[in-house]
Amino acid sequence: MELLVAIIIGVLVTSGVYLCLRARTFPVVMGLTLLSYGVNVFLFSMGGLKMDEVAVVGMSENPTDPLPQALVLTAIVIGFAMTAFLVVLALRSQGEHYTDHVDGRDDVPGRQDEGGEA
């Protein structure tokens, strides 16, 4: 199981980071969402994995670690707020600049590493 969760974290972070590096706002939003899934699961996994051992007093002999859960719970909600903020920022940028490029314009001078339009 630990191996599976580690793979999940790895895939989520890899996809998230790759999408965050894209040039348009929408993939970046998707990337950040994936990345926050990854980070949440990562934080959650720091308490170790336990099955059917809910951290409620009296329901389990050997309960799982509740602290990472409490941290992740607020992180999920804050993560949503951040995603929403980013989405709206992207919309505002679209409204102001008439482009959805993260740089606010399609051609930034001095950006040599950008390849030609394919």
Binding site: I9, L34, V54, A84, G95, E114
Partner: protein
Amino acid sequence: MNLAFVVMLPFLGAFLPPLVERFTGNRTLLACGAALLPATALALLYAPTRQVFAGETLHSTLNWIPSLDLSLDFRLDGLALLFALLVLGIGLLVILYARYYLSAKEKAGRFYAYLLLFMGAMLGVVTSDNLLLLVVFWELTSLSSFLLIGFWGHQTGARKGARMAMTVTGMGGLALLAGVLLIGGVVGSFSLQTVLESGDLIRGSEWYPLILCLVLLGVFTKSAQFPFHFWLPHAMAAPTPVSAYLHSATMVKAGVFLMARLYPALAGTDLWFELVSLAGMLTLLWGAFAALFQHDLKGLLAYSTISHLGLITLLFGLNSEMAAVAAVFHIINHATFKASLFMAAGIIDHETGTRDMRRINGLWKYMPYTAVLAMVASAAMAGVPLLNGFLSKEMFFAETLDSHQLGALSWILPVGATLGGVFSVAYSARFIHDVFFNGEPVNLPKYPPHEPPRYMKVPVEILVALCVAVGVFPAITVAGLLAVAATATLGGNLPEYHLSIWHGFNLPLIMSFVATAGGVLVYTQRRRLFALRSRVPDIDAKLVFEGQVQRLGRWSAAITQRFQNGSLQSYVAWLIALVAVVLLTQLGKLPALSLDVEMLPMDGVAILCTAMLVAGALLTTILHRHRMTSIMSLSVVGLMVSLLFVRFSAPDLALTQLSVEVVTMLLLMLAMYFLPVRTKAESSSIRVLRDMLLALVCGVGVAVMAFLVMTGETSTISQFFMDNSKSGGGGTNVVNVILVDFRGFDTFGEITVLGIAAMGIYALLKDLELRSAKYDSLGRPWAKDAHPLILVTISRPLLPLALLIAVYIFLRGHNLPGGGFVAGLITSVALVLQYVASGVAWVHSRMPGDYHPVVALGVLLAGLTGIGSWAFGYPFLTSDFAYIYWPVVGKFELATAMLFDTGVFLTVVGATLLMLANLGKLSLLDDKREDA
């Protein structure tokens, strides 16, 4: 009497002149106001002076930052006393002088405030008993001198001069700080007393060469030693009282003061001799030589000051106790004659309107009294017998003759000294002859010049009187002060010496004769020398310096533009690359990765779900250009993450994740309404490859780290929460109790962030106009259907049911999975469903559409619950609970935490709806515009 108080007096006094200026324009009153506190400080020093003369060293201590070994320690020994007297005494004379020097139009209040600020800083430097404290005051002198040099900020010269002085002395100050930190590292303390007693330890340390170089950098920049001397002539753009005070008597002496102060700790090695005496000798000669060729009165004095500072440095560098005594003696003498000369130059400038010696001639006729004063002071500068300059100069000559550290080349020192003397006599002669005789004045801006106001001459008279008194009766005037100061410098043993005018017909006297005769000879040949000098191109230090500063500016701008190129995409890449580097360096420190560890057994469902999650994530990424498909795949990922939480005993997280998933999808769909449906393929394959590499490094690194933590030994503090949840927080759902009780303060911060994000979104969406696409990616127009009937029919009865569930989840949250966050999200989903099904207009006609009051109310309620515990004498957010018996329901728990949770609930509902409803309204606007 507290020493710290005396040091603070000028700082306090700095507030007085601007205050006085506010109430009166009377310049005399203003000067009196400025002089009040320094005069008090000087008076307060009377009793300590007697103690110091009796051989005591006074200390005072105030703790400041004990953990850094930094305390407000002050000491008053002979050396500190000498400098304190110079700083306060000459400071008072300069205030009197400035009363007449500054014109009525100038902001004298500000000037005095800066001057007093400097005075306090300088007093701090000389009385600090802690090296770090000394550095702090040292920097303060640089800052206040910047303000004073730039006092006439409307002149370019003043601004550039101030900047140059600040840069050079500031960099020296940094070097000094580094040196002091190293000394502290070697000695183990920053206390001056300890450092002075650890001379052998420092000199024996392997760090000694570095320490010495760093400290000397501070000293040489401050005291304008070659090759850092160039800032001093440009600092002459300052008002003359400043030059008289800072650039002759005090600030430039801070460097030599530090050499005297640290003499027992640093001096006595060959390296010290080589560095210090070489810099001193070069400065002495170059300053004296350059002074002769200055046509500006203050320029001549500035180079002469450089030269005399070089002389003092050279004396310290000779590593002989007698030379150190001579150096201290020359510090006193130079301060008196040079301050009076600057003041005389200021009078001449004031009365003639120019400082150009080619125009100022024959002033003897117009201002004979000032002329006499200036001539006596010049003679002291030249080292004429019966004046104080002669005495220390003789000692200097004698010391150069006594030094044999250069072996067969030892003759260089006396020859260099004599040569310096020659030029010193020559420029002094020029100051006297060129200004007061040598024909008639040429084209003066103010004509005819006359004697200055009576009291403007008083400071000059006092200083010149001191020159004569010390020169004629050294034993009864200066001997006592010199003895205590020199004793403090050397740290104990004072060599035997006699201050007297006549030492017999000896070699130093012959050197004096040679210097005087040579100087007069050089002066008579000045026209030829000037002609020769004019053939050599001038190097304007200001131009060179400004050029370097601008080159540095361009260079840093180029580097900045290289990285700050306005491309957010590249910033993100840099950030992630940095994270990847950190990950790679840290992975090496983790234990070896092995799959052969104890793990929970896998099962088919888990593998299937993992496969689906991985597929979803990969599809989201690979198909990210097809945005709708990408969102669909993303929702699969979210769902699988919720299941993961279910599987691993985190029902609270699963509930939260599931509801968040719903609102996130809605949000993305709403945004899609305005954004292009497809992403163009525009990244080059190199960039794609690079991004893949970065992503893989991060992903694999994080996965490995997570795996190692999950399978490794962990220790946790959670047992505390498990044990105290019921008894301390009154709930059995530990996760919820942590949120609302144990770590309630964190949660309070988090809902505040949520509220702020919602407000930010509200602000961003205000007045935003966006046009939606009218056609899909294949060119078909979007359907304009009204709200689908089935959804409307199902969603309406769902609302009360969903709200009921939310209440249930909320109420049980303290004991079973649930709570404010989850209940808030469920409520939001239920309400958002109405928006989706029936439209914004329908919903807003049935309930208020303003959600920011709800957010505010939520944060306020949570905050008030926290503050409420103050009323009962408990810290912020202490919770309490009680059980009550309700009819029908039975035993029921009431906890203040529930009130807090209600705040959380309201914030979540308000924030979520504020975000989504406002986004929804945007499309409403768009539709209306279209209809119109």
